[in-house]
Each structure stands twice: as C-alpha cells, then as structure tokens.
C-alpha cells in the first residue's frame, strides 16, 4: 500500500480557508500535492451531495474547511457546514464508507501553517485507511 497516493478534494471557503491556503503558498510551505482545491464563497455552500459525488467519483478523502467559529464572513455558514458534515458522517457509516474520509476543519486566513498541517495529516490518515473502494468503478 506504500505507493498509494490518495486523491483528496478540498472545499475551501473564499474568506478564510482559501486565503489560508494562499498564505501557505506565499509562505512557501510545502505540503502534499494530493489535495485538489475547489473554491466556494462559504463552507455553508457545500452541499453534502458534492461530497458524496466526490466519493462516488473515487476521491479517497474530502476536506471541507471554513472560517473559525464566529468568523464566518456570512455569520454562520461554517456552523451549518459543520452540522451537515456530522450528519453526513452518520450516513456514510450506513453506506459502509469510512466516515474519516470526510473531514471538517477551521482554517483562518492567517493560518497558512495550519492548512499545510491539516493537509499533511489528512493525507497520512487516508493513506492508513486505504483507497476508496469506489475508485475506478465508474
């Protein structure tokens, strides 16, 4: 399994997490290329269907990152996203998909280092879990 390189889709909110990821770039913090970012205005925009679709397509992990509690540019999108992820994880369990494949994180615009760390950790975690069984089924 050592050559397994997970594919991770990351939904990043424009105001915090995406800006944090940009800061990781400006600060030249190296992290694994496994993560593929998708910019949304707010983590609250992330429809659980997007996450399921990513997993269905074979993504090994899905990261959703938004602003810290109280910092959401739209007041409470991050709380909504967090709650949806919690429910979604229950659903995944029933579908026999490891809920750890989906992860919610708070990353602020100034947390480039945190973004890089989250990606590193998540990639390691997914490596441990192994490839998405739905991979290549399309």
């Amino acid at each position: 399994m050592s050559d397994f390189e997970p594919n991770i889709v990351a939904f990043l909110c424009n105001w915090c997490a995406y800006a944090g990821a940009d800061l990781a770039g400006t600060s030249r913090l190296i992290y694994p290329a496994n993560v593929k970012p998708i910019r949304v205005m707010c983590s609250g925009r992330v429809d659980p269907v997007f996450v399921l679709e990513a997993l269905k397509k074979g993504a090994d992990g899905v990261l959703i990152a938004g602003c810290h509690p109280g910092d959401c540019h739209y007041q409470s999108g991050n709380y909504k996203a967090n709650r949806r992820v919690i429910l979604l994880k229950e659903l995944l369990q029933q579908l026999n998909i490891n809920p750890r494949r989906v992860r919610f994180e708070y990353v602020s615009a100034s947390e480039g280092q945190k973004f890089a760390n989250v990606v590193k950790e998540f990639v390691e975690e997914i490596k441990e879990i192994g490839p998405n069984p739905l991979r290549g089924e399309q």
């Binding site: 105001w15 995406y18 940009d22 990781a24 593929k36 925009r45 074979g58 996203a81």
Partner: protein
C-alpha cells in the same frame, strides 16, 4: 460554452520553475470545448492582457480560463480584460496554479499534474458558466469611523474635508485615545496634547462630523455602499446639551479622590463624576454608574452634591442607554491597541512591587497635567528616584508571549530617558536594558545617538529578574556586549510592554465581519498592496488596530484609509457582485427551509396566483454565501456562478482523477 480559451501564466519563474507550462498548455488544448491554449510570461501584464483580448476576438471565444496566481490577486484584472474584449466578465474562471500549486509542491511532475487537473476543472466549470449582470446599487455618501484616537480623528477629518458626512464613534467619554495620554512625542519632542488638541477641536467644530462619544457600535449589516449601523450611546447621567463642562460637579463629588483614574493609568484618583482630562472633547462630565453613590445605593448624603452644585441643572439620573441607527457607505476602523499587562511576566514584579511601572504610567508621571503635576516620583514613597531602569521588549519578540516587535518601545524608552534627564537633572542614573535598539524611522537613529551620547547606561540583554531587597529594587541582567552579569540597583523600574490588540477586538471583528490575524490584530487584505483594506469590501483599517505602529504611521495610514474610503463614497452608484442566490420557481415547493437558513433575512415566501408559496430572494440583502442553496431539498435555489451543476462539474474532474 464550447469556444473556450485557456491562458497559462509563467509568472516569470514563480510558476514555470515547478510547473511545466508547455505541458499544461498542450494538455489544455486537447480538452473538450477548448479552441485555443496559450502561455505567456506575465499574463497580467499589458502584453498578456492583449494576448487574451486578441484571442477572444480571433477565435470568437465564449469562455476563458486563466491559469495563474490566486483569484484573490487577479480575478478582478482578468474579469476586466475579458470585459474589454466584449465578453461578459463572468464567463471567466481562474485556475490557481501558483499559491496552491507551484509554490507548495516542489516536485515538478506532481506540480505539473496538479496544474493540469486544476485547469481541467476550471474548463469544466466554464463550460457551464452563464453571463451575469452586475446590478447597480446607490451609495450612501456617509462614513462611520470607529475609534477616536489619532488615527480615527485623522480619518474623520480627511473624510469630512472631502465633503462626506462622518459618524465618529468613540467608546470613552472623550476622543483623543492613547496619544492624549502621552506627554511628548518622539523624535521631535513635540508636546503631544499641543499637536493633538487642535485636531480634536477640528473634529468638534467640523459641520460634517457627528461625534458619538461614550458610545459603542453594536451591530452592522448590509454591504459596501450601504451599511446599516446600530450604536448604543451609554448614559452619562449628565444632560449633554445643558452641561457646560465647568467641572463644579467634579469638585464636590462625595467620591472625589477615591476612584482609580484610568486616564492616569490608575496612578491618580478621580471622583464618580469626572471629566477625563482638561482638553477632553466633548468637554462634558460623565457619572461612573459603578462608583456613583446615588446610582448604586439610591442615596448620596442628603442629596447628590453634583446635583446641588450644577447651575445648568444638567445632572440627570434618569438617563438610559440610547440606541441610534444610521446608514453609511463605508466604515473605517481605528480602534487602537492595548499594552500587555506585564503581570503576565511574573519575574518582572509588576503589580507586586509598587515601583515597577510601565512606560504609559511614566508618561502620566512626566505630564504636567498628570496625577503628580509633572513631579517624577516613585509610587511607593513619593521620593524622587536617583536611578531609573528601563526594561525593553517586555513580552515582545518572545515566542511565549507576543512574537512581534512593538515598534515603539525602543523610541519610547529613549524619549523618556531624555525627558527624565531634563526633569531630574544630571544626577539621575538611567539604565536601559535592551534586546536591539530599533530606531528605524525618519530621524530616529539620530535621536538614539543623541541619547547614547549622554550618560545613559545601555545593557544588551533581557533581565532575568527584578527583585525587591531591603534597600530597593535590583535587576539581574547579563550584558551580551561585555559578557558580564550585572546586578543593577535602582529605584524605579520602567517596563516597556508589548503592544497587543484591544481586548474587545474579537467582538468588534465579529460585528464587522473583519478577520483578525493569528496575533489578533485586524487583518489587511494584502500586507503590501492593500494595507488599509480588509477582506470585507467597504471596510478599512487604520492605526494600531491593524498592527503596532507609531503616531506618524498611524496618521499616514488613517489618511490613506480615508482616501480609499472616499473612492467609494465619491461614486453615486456601485456595481454589486452578482454571485447571489436565485430561485427556480418551477422547482420550489415553498418549504421555506431556505428562509430559516438565511442569516440575512434575504429570502421571503411569496404567494403565487394559485395560492402556492414560493421563495424569493431579496437581491439587495443577499450576500451570496450559498447556504440556502446547500439546504434546498429540491435544487430550486441556486447561486449564480456557483450553481450545483457548475460545482459538480469540477468535483467530477477533481474527484475522478486518481
């Protein structure tokens, strides 16, 4: 869209060094819907822009992907380029292959593969994008300035001079901020109040400035051009219009001399009714409800002395908090800083030893309007100090407290050293324990040399401890210049504490939706190019709320922020971002899930002719977060530029590619 052009930027070597640009260009050229794929050294340059424009015309493009730096940098630029070539600016998508690719993935193969994928995702999205129209919104030509220190004062004056109405909100009973507490300013040794007071008077007299002192902003909503602001005016228990500021009440208050005076850093005492300092603007008395006998116990002697003495009959114990609402087009935040409470560093003895004070306390002791009338004395026994020792970088540049430099500490200590010499004469011994002397500003280095030349002892090192011995205080410091350990006997220790964000900056950040950095200061939109902008359009920052700085930099930034704000106010109309929600009524079942999800009351239920309900988005209120879209069970609610199918197209590309 099926005539898409892909434009890949080298960004000099920033992208090209790790991403094989040619490979990306070739790859993109073969994607469905792409008719042209090109690269250029700097796509954001004039030549790059022309390349895009010419290609749009030559190949009759209907969609554009630019693979370059972050959309936060140049999305605006490229939207304009696309628009200038006659396309709708919203048929554009940026693939961020710099910040989130070439700069973070040094492996050329990995970075190139990821760049290809990001471009492919962007193309997939552009295929489904639709032209969008920017609605026009009227601008309210008024400004809110939060904070009445020197930065807020300067911003208010500049904006009002430009002809805009300014609401200036200050939390304390008077404007003036920290600068009003200072005696002299470095490096010119100008008397702080002599240069500040005229500006404060200008604020008071300017017909365009409406001052809300002793007031706080409690809520802000709306967006650039039209913010609705709620301000709470705290009760002074003194009729604002009747009070003449004569101070008679202050003199007779039964609590006089019993309440720690915050303006004097608690070194002096005031009464329950007080005027913070003689030059206060507005010059009105304020009753401190936590100290006033009458307000606390319902009884003050036979009758409240202030009431008895006030000829203007201004004392009014029935006053209540008052909520004021108004609209503005822009907001300038200038809420200043706090000094770190040095008790956090136990070893320096602050708050344990009376004769360990901070620079701001010394400033009040030096000031002729201070608690001692300008007599510099040791707080423990009121005797003149024979030796004063400064400790710089207290909590600053320290991994365990504040990592940053306070930027004013060195110069403050040098200035105070000069003033001590002036006040106490040649006999006083002055010691300065420093880490590095940072005298970076204009004429600062010259000032430093002037002090270094006159009988001042410099120790390069951070003291390990301040101890109290029988005959006074001692400081242990290891001087790294001479490699010797010194034990300094001294009478008065002056700590130079770190500059930290105000303790309420987190609350205010939430009210304004302005982000803060890891250090807690408000975050600028770009550290170099947008130092006064925030990520929230129409909200600007100035002064120390953005990070430590001296007076001259605060003033410069405040004028800058005012000018940035005036750019907006001088327009009658703005174009609103069209990336908001909309409803496909045919799919809407009127379940109202979206209504409950929306934080901005931007969705209404409407009754149709057939008595069925559908949701409707109030466009002026929608901020475009997309929460309602994610919550809609039937897919009737969508977000322009972020429709379900548009995002799913990207998910399919990025998720599917292992």
């Amino acid at each position: 869209m099926d005539r898409i052009g892909v434009f890949v930027c080298h960004c000099g070597v920033n992208i090209a060094a790790t991403v094989d640009v040619d490979e990306v260009v070739d790859f993109a050229g073969k994607l469905d819907g792409v008719v042209v794929s090109k690269s250029y050294k700097y796509m954001c340059s004039d030549n790059g822009a022309n390349l895009i424009k010419e290609s749009i015309k030559k190949f009759k493009l209907d969609g554009v992907v630019v693979a370059s730096c972050s959309p936060q940098m140049h999305e605006h630029t490229f939207r304009r380029v696309v628009e200038e070539a006659g396309l709708n600016p919203f048929v554009l998508e940026i693939a961020n292959i710099r910040e989130q690719c070439s700069w973070v993935h040094p492996d050329r193969k990995e970075a190139t593969e990821k760049a290809k994928l990001l471009v492919k995702g962007a193309v997939a999205k552009v295929r489904l994008l639709e032209p969008l129209v920017r609605e026009k919104v009227k601008v309210t030509p008024k400004a809110l300035v939060v904070g009445g220190g020197i930065a807020g004062i300067q911003a208010s004056l500049d904006l009002s001079e430009k002809g805009f109405h300014v609401y200036l909100v200050e939390k304390e009973p008077s404007i003036g901020g920290r600068m009003a507490q200072l005696d002299k300013t470095f490096p010119t040794l100008d008397c702080a109040s002599c240069i500040l007071t005229p500006k404060m008077m200008d604020v008071k007299n300017h017909p365009n400035i409406e001052l809300f002192a002793y007031s706080e902003v409690v809520s802000v909503d709306g967006s650039i051009g039209n913010y609705r602001v709620k301000v709470v005016r705290k009760p002074r228990y003194v009729d604002f219009d009747k009070c003449t500021g004569c101070g008679d009440c202050v003199n007779v208050c039964r609590m006089k001399g019993k309440v720690p005076d915050e303006f004097n850093m608690n070194l002096g005492k005031r009464g329950a009714v007080y005027i913070p300092f003689p030059q206060a603007i507005p010059l009105k008395a304020t009753i401190d409800p936590e100290q006033c006998l009458f307000l606390r116990y319902g009884k003050c002697g036979r009758s409240p002395a202030c009431q008895d003495v006030c000829e203007a009959e201004a004392i009014d114990f029935t006053q209540r908090e008052e909520l004021v609402e108004f609209e503005v087009g822009v907001i300038v935040v200038a809420t200043g800083y706090d000094l770190l409470d040095p008790s956090a560093l136990y070893e320096y003895g602050y708050s344990r030893y009376k004769d360990v004070i901070t620079t701001l306390e010394l400033e009040r002791l030096i000031s002729s309007s201070g608690p001692t009338g300008g007599e510099i004395v040791c707080p423990s026994d009121q005797r003149k100090p024979g030796s004063v020792t400064f400790v710089l970088c207290v909590g600053s540049r320290d991994e365990t407290v504040c990592t940053w430099c306070c930027r004013v500490g060195c110069m403050t200590a040098l200035k105070q050293a000069y003033l001590l010499r002036e006040h106490l004469g040649d006999d006083v011994e002055i010691n300065i324990c420093y880490t590095d002397i940072r005298s970076f500003g204009k004429r600062y280095e010259e000032f430093y040399r002037r002090i270094r030349g006159v009988k001042t002892n410099f120790f390069r090192g951070r003291p390990s401890e301040v101890k109290e011995k029988k005959d006074g205080l001692t400081i242990d410091v290891f001087d790294t210049m001479t490699n010797k350990l010194f034990e300094i006997k001294t009478d008065l220790v002056v700590l130079v504490p770190a500059v930290v964000p105000r303790n309420d900056s987190s609350d205010l950040g939430k009210i304004l939706h302005v982000s803060r950095g890891a250090d807690g200061f408000f975050l600028e939109a770009h550290p170099k190019l947008k130092p006064m902008d925030t990520f929230t359009d129409g909200i600007f920052i100035a002064g120390c709320c953005q990070g430590p700085k001296d007076i001259q930099d605060s003033v410069a930034q405040a004028s800058g922020a005012a000018s940035r704000a005036a750019n907006i106010l001088s327009k009658e109309e703005l174009e609103a971002e069209p990336l908001i929600a909309f409803v496909d009524e045919d799919f809407c079942s009127g379940c109202a899930t979206c209504v409950s999800v929306c934080s901005f009351n931007a969705i209404e239920l409407m009754k149709k002719e057939d008595n069925k309900y559908v949701a409707r988005v109030v466009e002026a209120l929608c901020k475009g977060c997309g929460s309602c879209v994610a919550a809609c069970p039937s897919g009737a609610m969508q977000q322009k530029g972020f429709k379900d199918d548009q995002i799913l197209a990207v998910v399919d590309v990025l998720g599917g590619e292992a």
